[in-house]
């Protein structure tokens, strides 16, 4: 009887640890496969022919269709620059310097990856329609109500997710030097 109890504990513990740790690392990654740059996280090997098994598992599980990091990068932010969860209860200002890429875009989703319905039909701004201010920055405001400038409606009562996409994010010189990241936009919390 004692052995049976031990065996059951062994089986349950093995399954919980094995499956739980696999789920966690596929979901959240770790520094080697999904490094952070401020609030932004990217699966750096996504799309690569030699991608690590965690990245491959994540792509299969979530149904992504990525391109390699040399061709395009996708960063996801679920927190602001201070580490607090992004929420529609607060306003945020995204401050960017023009990024070195053929094209880049910042889009807003809820925590499930769904676009937030709004009358203005605004879900993203990109390098082709963001204006550069006199101080050299490009700014986007996330808020429930309309704001002057580049405003993205954040809806009500849900957590937010920002996705930054860049096509050809690195120059040949940067690729040679191995610079994977540039200075990415900051996300500053405003009124809540």
């Amino acid at each position: 009887m004692k052995n049976l109890v031990h065996f059951l504990c062994f089986a349950l513990l093995s399954l919980a640890l094995g499956l739980g740790s696999a789920y966690y690392f596929i979901e959240h990654g770790f520094a080697l496969v999904a490094p952070n740059n401020g609030p932004w996280k990217t699966w750096i090997n996504a799309g690569s022919l030699t991608a690590d098994p965690y990245t491959r598992a994540r792509i299969a599980r979530f149904g992504d269709l990525p391109i390699t990091s040399g061709s395009g990068l996708t960063f996801v932010a679920k927190t602001d620059s201070d580490g607090s969860d992004l929420s529609s209860d607060c306003e945020y200002e995204i401050v960017a310097r023009p990024l070195s890429a053929i094209w880049w875009s910042i889009a807003l989703y809820d925590s499930d990856g769904e676009l937030i319905p709004n009358k203005a039909g605004r879900h993203a701004f990109n390098s082709q329609n963001l204006t550069v201010l006199p101080d050299g920055t490009q700014r986007i405001i996330l808020a429930r109500e309309a704001r002057p400038g580049h405003w993205l409606p954040s809806g009500e009562d849900h957590d937010l997710t920002l996705v930054l996409r860049m096509i050809r994010p690195l120059s040949l010189e940067q690729q040679r030097q191995g610079l994977a990241f540039q200075s990415l936009p900051s996300i500053q919390k405003g009124n809540c």
Partner: protein
Amino acid sequence: MRAFWPWLLASVFCAGVIHVLTVFGVPYLATRDAWSRLSALSDQNQLYLLPIAAADTPLPFMAPDVAYAFCRFDLSASNVSLQTELGDGSWSIAVSGRHGENFYFISGSEAKRRELRLLLVPRARLSEEVSTERSEEGDEQIIVITPNMTGIAVIRAPVRGPSFADDTIRLLQSAQCQPVIEQDPNVIAAEEAKPELNGPAIIRGGGGARRPIRPRTRVQ
């Protein structure tokens, strides 16, 4: 408690094995990967446009300011050609295996031309085809060698703003993805021998059109 230590160590070891098996197994067991999701709404070797900023997208976190067209290709019977006009330098074409491994990418700014034609050829058939296959496009055609017979080609067309969406979609609608069925060499030889066809040789396109061909030059 002492008697449980061996069980504890064994469970940590087994957990490690389960962890590794799970991580390596997910790509082969996942039923909601991109290939499966797109299979539900498309046939093979045809191009499909996805609505811009739709509420219910087939793939997660699709960019709302990008128009997507995709083609699930199967090269087991014939090569497949993908043709599109490029709106501007930010347009891109990515070709991936069915598990998401991206083996080819080109953007409009690198293409340095208005129109692009990719010919997808499987590596397994390369030795038979490269020396014999010809195309009418010559320098304008890019040969893409695919590691597997199946995969997904995606055209991404960024939309400058809502007022540009219709123009982008219209341009994307002219893109094509279709099998290229080469005629039997004996038939070609016979047709070349006929006096009325003493010109360029021909191949048949996906729509059955007969096309004159010239040697191609660019392989990637």
